[in-house]
């Protein structure tokens, strides 16, 4: 069986895998990274979206062997300690999730979308996320969340994790400097960009 080396959320794994093993099954069944769920078997729903070397990828459409030598960031690797990524905070603030099953993939896809379009219009968000399906929200709150998340990312926020019991008041969210942005982007495997 092929032997691969893959970094996932900052940890390096060496695994022997069947050539047919999908990346999402490597993550879930072998590495215990169950934060990334599976919603379909045809690459349509996007629930399993992760960052593969800094760009979003549906991990059901990637073989584990194809990820050899790559860095993967999953929803579990997005927060820094107790600090959420701004996109995570934005989904919470804007009620961009209900059952939450599509949310990990939606957040990862949204971060990638914002990388290409730092201030996306409503239409750009809708078009950009058409590969990620949600059955609960009707998408309007997701669109709001992504646009809020984009603004917060542009401000270089790291998205202070506010305990959900109190809920983060949007207008009082901590502002932080550009240094934090670089940190956030490094974690995402994304290149530093000037908004």
């Amino acid at each position: 069986m092929p032997r691969i080396t893959v970094g996932v959320d900052g940890v390096t794994y060496e695994e022997e895998v069947e050539p047919r093993l999908l990346l999402v099954h490597l993550l879930r069944d072998r590495l215990g990274k169950t934060g990334t769920p599976i919603g379909c078997d045809t690459g349509n729903c996007g629930a399993c979206t992760v960052m593969l070397d800094g760009r979003s990828a549906k991990s059901c459409c990637v073989l584990a062997v194809q990820a050899d030598g790559s860095e993967v960031v999953t929803i579990e690797g997005l927060a820094r300690g107790q600090e959420w990524h701004p996109m995570q905070t934005a989904f919470h603030t804007e009620h961009g999730l209900q059952c939450g099953y599509c949310t990990p993939g939606m957040i990862m896809a949204a971060i990638d979308l914002v990388r290409d379009d730092p201030d996306p219009s409503e239409e750009a968000v809708r078009e950009g996320l058409e590969g990620n399906l949600c059955r609960c929200t009707g998408y309007a709150t997701i669109v709001r969340a992504v646009r809020r998340g984009a603004r917060e990312m542009a401000r270089g926020e790291t998205g202070a994790r506010t305990p959900p019991e109190t809920g983060p008041p949007p207008e009082t969210e901590a502002q932080s400097g550009a240094g934090a942005r670089n940190g956030a982007e490094a974690r995402n495997g994304a290149e530093a960009r000037t908004p």
Partner: protein, 820 residues
């Protein structure tokens, strides 16, 4: 209209009233609290059933029938058993002695045919996807591989896919007694008199296509046993109902069976079921003594998660020339599929009382025939019966308006129950407790810009614009908040409709709320915390809501039918009141005062007119210490409550949809969508908005996108998400939503259900808009989903050419069953 507008309290927009920054205690209900649930969901720390790993766990894969109807001649699993990693393999005959029959809890008539429904087929298969064998192996891939080594010989039998064909004399029989499962009738008033000599009769037939619910989380089951007790994790909406039904089905004693619904990724009715896989997982863990897991793939789920809708509706309206409705007749065929599952036959009955909608009339007649076909059984899907009813009446009322040359809003106005008339007992015998259709409609028309859009429509018709504009109206109500137990009993449902809650005051003053509702995305942890915080005067943050595990929440009726808040939330409030009664008694004792002199506010019990008092947290500690309690006072403040509602809940609202229809390509684009809903008092406006949005999306999806398609042999052609079109963000518009608030009078919170309202309202709004756009072409209906091809064909096959003026020009085209 503005006076009527004021009669309903117009809700403030969420953006202006997010409640943030207000003091924490005493003002929780009505605040747009961000959800407690989100923390684990946005960070990937969830416990979906497929995430559960137990030591020594084995994996199950099912071999499923490739034929819609066949006799099973032979199942040979011997080759599969020898493959590496395979622990066991079985055919249906291996379970024949112990698998029982999957339950139907709603035998709607005395003489209903309820066929035996073995979880694994033994002698005959009746739909594509029915399980015929299984493999248990050390990982999911070995289990799936080994399925290929199983040999099954079938003797094909004729499939029957269409309901009308299934009722024909020479139709292949799905079950020996025949294909008619039941006929259920209901009539009020003199319907013959209403239709006799009626100046106008509208007679239409609508097709409710078959839908696949498609919760984002596929089903999964984990079962384990220590030899005596059994634990079942399942992606289910109904852990409590499931436990009872599984105990009855498998013979595992109820007290030795624990059911856990961990994080559940959506349901929409599809996880309101007792499934073959749940039963078989229990039997397998009992037989093998090891934990087993089964997780479905999406394409397996499209085949074997119960489907929704699939009805053929004939509706007739008798009316006066001024548009006033005399009576309504409904004749329904409802496709049961191959078996009757948990509430399969009851689904059309949930609509039976709603074909009158919000309108006054003297006579009503309803007949429904349940029909067996060789397809996956149908069962509850968001709205369950009520979307079908609302679609039919709202479509038919538009046809009536067209027939009379009246504006569709005006026809509704002439027939609806006015706000002064509540409570109003309808022709169907339901008592609508409260509502204000005038206020919701006025607000919706204002937000929509109704007159402006009508003017644009006229202008486009005038210049024969290839892109025509249509305006669709839907003024709906629904019965939800299931349900008064005595009513369910009178409809022959097998259980009650109450809900349970326990409120526990912990020694440190924190609060645990145990609820019998079973949320799977609705946000009960947040909303129940808000109710509790206000009732007990404790901080929102100090409340924890426990649910979804029968060992923790021992009693409940679970989550479906927009019941959780109006039944379960009220039970939480009621339990809080009992806690307060106990705390008051203890406070009186500690403060040496009469209980009548103890006042409660902001979490403190004080002697009237003094500052002397104790907080509820101090009293919780005093009850825990139990050093100084009144005689006979048990050392607890905890209390429980089981609430059984007296009535259903009747949310209502007005949805308006503007659709641009490209008459050359048939493509329909929603240009604007306005929904003004009245769900009574609101606990959390953010959650309500989310429920409305998601509901509208699913209703729009039925109108435009979704359909489970079978070929003549009964093969499902839409088995994947590539074939069955779940709308993406780019397929849907932004929704303009607002609320009026007419509190329910049937419960102390004043709340009404919200989970299904959007789905019920939106489908007819969209289709009415499409048909409205095409009236000048003589189009009087487009079958759902209104795909570009269907719309284009409807135009191509319509009798009339584009007319320069309004709908009345096309009257001749609407003559079938039309004006007399």
């Amino acid at each position: 209209m503005s006076e009527q507008l004021d009669a309903g309290l117009i809700a403030q927009r969420i953006a202006e009233d997010d409640g943030l920054g207000r003091p924490s205690a005493g003002h929780e209900v009505g605040r747009a609290r961000r959800r407690k649930e989100d923390a684990r969901l946005v960070t990937g720390r969830t416990t979906w059933t497929d995430n559960v790993q137990l030591p020594g766990m084995l994996y199950v894969a099912f071999l499923r029938s490739p034929m819609a109807h066949a006799r099973i001649i032979r199942v040979d699993v011997s080759a599969a058993r020898t493959l590496p990693g395979v622990v066991a393999a079985y055919g249906g005959a291996d379970f024949a002695g112990e698998q029982g029959s999957l339950p139907c809890a709603w035998p709607v008539t005395e003489d209903i045919v309820i066929p035996d429904h073995p979880p694994m087929a033994v002698t005959e298969v009746r739909y594509v996807g029915e399980a015929v064998a299984c493999v248990v192996a050390t990982d999911r891939f070995k289990a799936a591989d080994a399925l290929e080594a199983i040999e099954v010989d079938y003797e094909p039998l004729r499939a029957v896919v269409d309901m009308t064909e299934a009722l024909a004399e020479d139709a292949p029989k799905v079950h020996e007694p025949g294909n008619r499962a039941f006929t259920w009738k209901f009539a009020q008033g003199d319907v013959d008199a209403a239709f006799r000599d009626a100046p106008v009769v509208i007679d239409r037939t609508y097709v409710q296509q078959r839908l696949i619910p498609t919760a984002m989380e596929p089903r999964a089951v984990v079962a384990s046993t220590d030899g005596q007790t059994f634990t079942l994790y399942s992606s289910t909406q109904i852990p409590h109902v499931l436990r009872v039904m599984l105990a009855m089905t498998t013979g595992i004693p109820e007290h030795r069976l624990r059911v856990i619904a961990p994080d559940v990724g959506g349901g929409f009715g599809s996880k309101l079921q007792v499934t073959a896989e749940e039963v078989l997982a229990l039997l397998l863990t009992r037989r093998l003594g090891r934990p087993v897991k089964w997780t479905e793939s999406r394409s397996e789920g499209n085949l074997t998660v119960h489907h929704g809708r699939d009805q053929l509706q004939r509706i007739s309206i008798a009316a006066e020339r001024d548009g006033r409705i005399r009576g309504v007749k409904v004749d329904l065929l409802a496709d049961m599929g191959a078996y009757l599952m948990l509430v399969t036959p009851g689904v059309p009955l949930l609509g039976a009382f709603m074909y009158g909608g919000i309108y006054k009339m003297d006579a009503y007649d309803f007949t429904c025939t349940g029909v067996f076909t060789t397809k996956m059984p149908t069962d509850a899907y968001r709205g369950a019966g009520r979307p079908e009813a609302t679609f039919a009446i709202e479509r038919a009322v538009d046809e009536l308006a067209c027939e009379l040359g009246l504006d569709p809003v005006e026809v509704r106005r002439r027939n609806w129950i006015t706000h002064e008339e509540f409570p109003y007992t309808t022709v169907c015998g339901l008592t609508y407790d409260s509502g204000n259709y005038e206020a919701a409609t006025a607000r919706a028309l204002e937000l929509f810009g109704y007159d402006r859009l009508r003017a644009e429509q006229a202008e486009r018709r005038e210049r024969r614009d290839p892109v025509q504009l249509g305006v669709g109206v839907s003024t709906y109500t629904e019965m939800c908040g299931l349900a008064p137990s005595r009513v369910l009993g009178s409809l022959r449902y097998g259980a009650g409709g109450w809900e349970h809650a326990t409120v526990r005051m912990l020694p440190t003053g924190k609060v645990e709320v145990v609820t019998g509702t079973s949320p799977h995305g609705q946000g009960h942890e947040t909303a129940w915390s808000q109710i509790t915080a206000d009732a007990l005067g404790v901080p929102f943050e100090d409340v924890s809501v426990l649910h979804g595990d029968t060992a923790v929440s021992h009693k409940g009726m679970d989550t479906y039918g927009s019941r959780s808040l109006v039944v379960g939330g009220v039970a939480v409030l009621s339990a809080c009141e009992k806690v307060k009664d106990r705390a008051r008694e203890l406070a009186a004792h500690v403060l040496e005062a009469s209980a009548d002199d103890i006042e409660f506010s902001d979490g403190s019990f004080k002697v009237r007119g003094t500052d002397e008092g104790r907080t509820i947290q101090e009293l919780a500690l005093a009850a825990f210490a139990a050093h100084d309690l009144p005689d006979g006072f048990e050392p607890r403040l905890d209390a429980e409550s089981t609430f059984d509602p007296d009535n259903f809940s009747f949310p209502h609202g007005t949805h308006l949809c503007a659709v641009e229809v490209d008459t050359e390509t048939g493509r329909c684009s929603i240009r604007s969508y306005v929904a003004v809903d009245d769900v009574g008092s609101v606990v959390n406006p953010l959650i309500v908005e989310g429920q409305v949005h998601g509901g509208i999306a699913q209703g729009v999806a039925q109108a435009l996108f979704e359909e489970a398609v079978h070929d003549a042999e009964g093969n499902l052609l839409t088995t994947t998400m590539a074939d069955y079109l779940i709308p993406s963000a780019s397929d849907l518009p932004a929704f303009v939503t607002d609320r009026t608030e007419t509190p329910a009078t049937s419960n102390p919170l004043g709340v009404k259900g919200v989970g299904e309202a959007g789905t019920i309202a939106s489908t007819p709004a969209v289709v009415n808009a499409i048909v409205d756009a095409l009236r000048p072409y003589g189009v009087r209906d487009v079958r759902m989903p209104c795909t570009p091809e269907r719309v284009w064909r409807a135009i191509a096959e319509a009798p009339a050419r584009p007319a320069a003026t309004g709908p009345e020009e096309s009257e001749s085209a609407i003559s079938e069953g039309g004006a007399r």
